[in-house]
Subunit: 333 residues, 2 copies
């Protein structure tokens, strides 16, 4: 059974374990500082498909398949797949699993979809409703760019605060075996500070990230130093600096342990401006280097609290603020 | 704790109860056969907002607020809101709850989003992670029409198999009090029979509806007559006839107890062709007449198994098949 600690944190008495994980990324991501930690790097971002949307879907499918192989199981051994992505009506995720014949739950938390899938799945596992599930998420620069911003061929200039949508996918298989345990989950609330610049997602999401992290630390009567890493994604360098400042105001100095997936995925010379973004960014960084190094004993306890910006091109054009949200899970090695 | 019955059905030992519910609909829906069973009928579908998207959001917000009032509670008394809609990046749902300061889980199952929210929420309640939650969904003819089909002012002709996106929203408050219990949940799988006509959603969804209904009946060793109603949504008249035929082939005659929200919401003279559709259709029919009449004792046991079509204009334009999905819950009065 799950119990509630403090105001909102959900604690599992015997939480589910991550039995395997895999990350599949695009060419640019495979040339970055984490290149050796991914399971699959695409030679061609089109993945031999006719469209960018199908390519993203193939990337997510690849991540799920590789994660299943590492657990020596097949799709049919899953009780459910929980997945989401940035494309309209989340088509990338359903196309990735449409042939699986497995119960499918579409979830949407923008760039923190991976944490939402893990948090919901962990609660459902805890109830006995699921015995083993896959959580996955993806994004693709080319499918996102033309949906959210400009035609690819337009080659528009990007502002310094803009982030680069990662061509990447991650998947984790969660059940009753594995060396990494999900001990806690946190369901984030929306925080809207009326940021209206879609090219400054870091500023839009930092307040929600702070809300989740500070509330969890209060609930658990913990300090940032109780974690080997507080992993956000994808605040980029603008949002990360804002988050650290906001956490200072709450009385928590997170600077030593804070890492952001959007800042880890690319090197400075890869011209991604404020950093990476997209559902696949934190999914691939988690299911690539982070869980791998956790399995190897490098980290004992991680607070995985990625961040989503709730908006669409329509809502931005209509003058709505961009609300941030941050779902989270605590992982113990 | 939840247990699994048969291959996939989830049974709750002490399932959550629906403590209150409300439905808010547009003008056309308020002129239909269910008009007296809704809590709110808009005089103007624009809901005094500047845009159709904001109007849809206001309708969902109205449904949630009215449902909360009936339970004599406020937003802050909820552990989470689970919601979704058809708009790109599900903006209607998050805009409806952005000021709630309540944990928010975006879910996406196209027109069966309401059942997905209830099923996930019930499992999370069962684990102890949630003590009380709201499940809600919405759609709006004007926001959907221009996103999925044609500019509103174009006034395009519609085919006989086409359905009419309902301007409607429904919300249910679920927790430990109330006279209607969620006894079982079922997570649907995608079924893609390669239907590519976006103006024939009934045909695209009927196979998934049959899969869910037949699997549940097998799992529970039950017959259709064990239910006062098997409620789908939104197959319309084309999909409903297909569903009955497909169920015949599985050995189940559902014709006597089957009702479809898409066929209940409008009268034949309202010119909606094959019937209603949209996330708000089954949400408002459930949270309007159905739960109301169940509370009054008219129904003892209902299988609520609405249906979603997983597609986007992009996926259809790219020649992808439209996969159907059907999540379900069993309700006992």
């Amino acid at each position: 059974m799950a119990t509630r600690v403090g105001s909102r944190t959900i604690a599992f008495t015997d939480g589910p374990k991550i039995s395997s994980f895999a990350a599949a990324v695009g060419k640019k991501e495979g040339e970055g500082p984490l290149s050796t930690k991914f399971d699959f790097i695409a030679e061609d971002d089109k993945m031999n498909k006719d469209t960018w949307e199908q390519a993203e879907s193939a990337l997510q499918s690849k991540a799920i398949t590789l994660a299943l192989e590492k657990s020596h199981i097949k799709h049919k051994d899953l009780d459910a797949i929980l997945a989401g992505d940035l494309l309209n009506q989340c088509i990338s995720s359903f196309m990735a699993s449409v042939e699986s014949n497995v119960p499918y739950l579409g979830v949407y938390g923008a760039c923190c979809t991976m944490a939402e899938a893990l948090a919901i799945g962990a609660c459902m596992y805890d109830s006995g409703a699921l015995r083993r599930f896959a959580a996955s998420a993806s994004s693709h620069f080319c499918s996102a760019e033309r949906q959210y911003r400009f035609p690819l061929s337009y080659g528009g200039q990007r502002t310094p605060t803009a982030q680069w949508t990662a061509t990447a996918a991650g998947a984790a298989i969660v059940g009753d075996t594995g060396s990494i345990k999900i001990t806690h989950a946190f369901l984030g609330q929306m925080v809207d500070m009326d940021i209206k610049d879609a090219a400054n997602m870091g500023a839009a999401m930092a307040p929600a990230a702070c809300h989740t992290i500070a509330t969890m630390l209060q609930d658990l009567d913990a300090q940032p130093s109780d974690f080997d890493m507080i992993l956000t994604g994808d605040l980029g360098n603008v949002g990360s600096e804002l988050l650290a400042t906001l956490c200072d105001l709450e009385g928590y100095n997170i600077r030593t342990v804070h890492r952001d997936c959007g800042m880890l995925l690319y090197s400075k010379d890869q011209d991604v401006h404020a950093g990476g973004s997209g559902c696949g960014c934190c999914a691939s960084v988690l299911c690539g280097p982070v869980l791998r190094e956790m399995e190897q004993g490098k980290y004992k306890r991680i607070l995985f609290a990625p961040n989503g910006a709730l908006m669409s091109p329509t809502s931005v054009q209509q003058g709505q603020g961009i609300a941030g949200i941050s779902h989270a899970v605590i992982l113990e090695g």
